[in-house]
Amino acid sequence: MNWDLLATYTPMYADALWVVVQLGFWGVFGSLILGALVALVRHWKVPVVDRIAGGYIEVARNTPSMVQLYFLYFGLPLIGVKASGFACAIAGLTFLGGAYMAEAIRSGLEAVREGQYRAAASLGLSQTQTMRLVVLPQALAVALPAITANVIFLIKETSIVSIIAVVDLMALTQNLIGMFYTSNEAYLMLVISYLVLLLPVSIGLRALERRFRRGIA
């Protein structure tokens, strides 16, 4: 193990880690927004759109993310939609994650019993107040474990963006090994980088889960 090499690699891995963080952040963000929209559409059974949303969820959940990325990156330009690798990666994560988040959020919404809505109404709360103070907190509590699982899942899914020339941790590791054959050092840095990213996220999300559970009686 060449320890000096590790020192040289550290800034490169830091850059790649930052790329993964950005992808993860925007991917999760996009997924939550898209997922929430789709969940509401399905929960309220909006005609027509509900069907489309259902179809979207099926396609996104039953095809591998790798194909989705390839399709976005190499397929779409042929009909005039060309976006950078980074943009495609985020679009892909949003497309995939949105479906999973939608299901998680919807299960949360449907877990809130009918009686809650009526009780809130009888207390004179408006629609928005009901949603904000009564429904959403409960829905979130039920949905949170699934949501946190999806967050970890999405961050791990970023590991294939190397196929569309985005320099994430896997891509960097493969580049270094491919050019200089320093497997030991590169893999060690890879493992460390993923841990630096995933451990705090995992611990943080679990703490969030615990707080939410305690907040609800």
Binding site: F74, P77, G85, S162, I177, G178, M179, Y187, V191
Partner: protein, 299 residues
């Protein structure tokens, strides 16, 4: 759901510690070549610890050769499911001369060295250029082809000098000597690195880069089929020699391959290989004498 645990994070540390110690312990293992005792032939401890020595291949009855599956006309899979190409032509002959079946394994550029160090193939015939770094990982035979680095770009935005790439994007394939060369010599030029050659060319077609760096031979072949693109610069850096590669220390196989090249192959074998696989592709654009290397000697 789960009961609240006193130290939930200790469970996270266990796998962390386990993996780190595994990696760190492999450092010491990495100093000596892997003893593939599981796969070594019965008893007969040959000097080379590499599995896939000549005797073993004869015993197995199969020669496993790593080639490209997506780099026509050197190594590709036709619609009949059979491998074909300049490298494959050579591989077929080797199998015939050794009296064994040939098993082709499709590799990507980056997988060529690991395929040998990891004992996945006996031999690599995949447009494999001899470089210093690679020579430390594998053993190369005598060369059978000459190539040089070239840059291909769209005709209406032709790159004719490397300096024109400043501020632009260069497409390369992961694991090729072009990737290494440009990283070492022009680190300031931004690279878009793709996993396979086919992805790299697809990216060039989509305009995701301003030029693609590859061996001149691949590019010439591709350019002829894809109007609108031309090889703007040839001969960047030193010319490269393409050779067969075996696992380090596999002297029996290496010596045999070299013997084939210098003595046993019919005269002008590689010219024949060229005629069978490359001539149609290049037509008048290339001169076989400048590409092919006979008997492993460069004049």
């Amino acid at each position: 759901m789960s009961k609240v645990k006193a130290h939930p994070n200790i469970q996270l540390l266990i796998p962390v510690v386990a993996l780190l110690s595994l990696l760190l312990s492999s450092c010491s293992l990495g100093e000596t070549p892997a003893e593939t005792s599981q796969s070594a032939a019965s008893g007969s401890e040959i000097a080379s610890s590499a599995a896939g020595s000549l005797d073993e291949i004869r015993e197995k009855g199969t020669l496993t050769i790593g080639v490209f599956r997506d780099l026509a006309p050197f190594g590709s899979v036709g619609s009949d499911g059979e491998y074909q190409g300049y490298d494959v032509y050579f591989g077929d002959q080797l199998g015939e001369d050794l009296g064994v079946k040939v098993d082709y394994v499709g590799l990507d550029a980056q997988g060529r060295v690991p395929a040998l160090t990891g004992d996945k193939v006996d031999l690599v015939l995949a447009n494999f250029a001899i470089t210093e770094e690679r020579a430390q990982q594998v053993d190369f035979s005598l060369p059978y082809m000459k190539a040089s680095q070239a840059l291909i770009s769209p005709e209406d935005a032709l790159i004719t000098d490397v300096s024109q790439l400043e501020g632009k994007t260069l497409i390369v394939t992961r694991g090729t000597s072009q990737q290494t060369w440009f990283t070492k010599n022009y680190p300031q030029i931004e690279q878009a690195v793709y996993q396979t050659q086919s992805d790299a060319y697809a990216a060039l077609k989509d305009g995701r880069g301003d030029a693609l760096a590859q061996s001149n031979l691949d590019e010439l072949a591709w350019a002829r089929q894809n109007p609108g693109f031309r090889v703007g610069i040839e001969g960047i850096g030193e010319p490269t020699l393409v050779a067969a590669a075996v696992k380090k220390g596999n002297t029996t196989l290496l010596d045999w391959v070299n013997e084939e090249i210098t003595t046993n192959l019919p005269d002008n074998f590689f010219h024949d290989a060229y005629a069978a696989t490359l001539e149609d592709v290049y037509g008048e654009d290339a001169n076989p004498d400048e590409i092919v290397v006979e008997r492993g000697t460069i004049d």
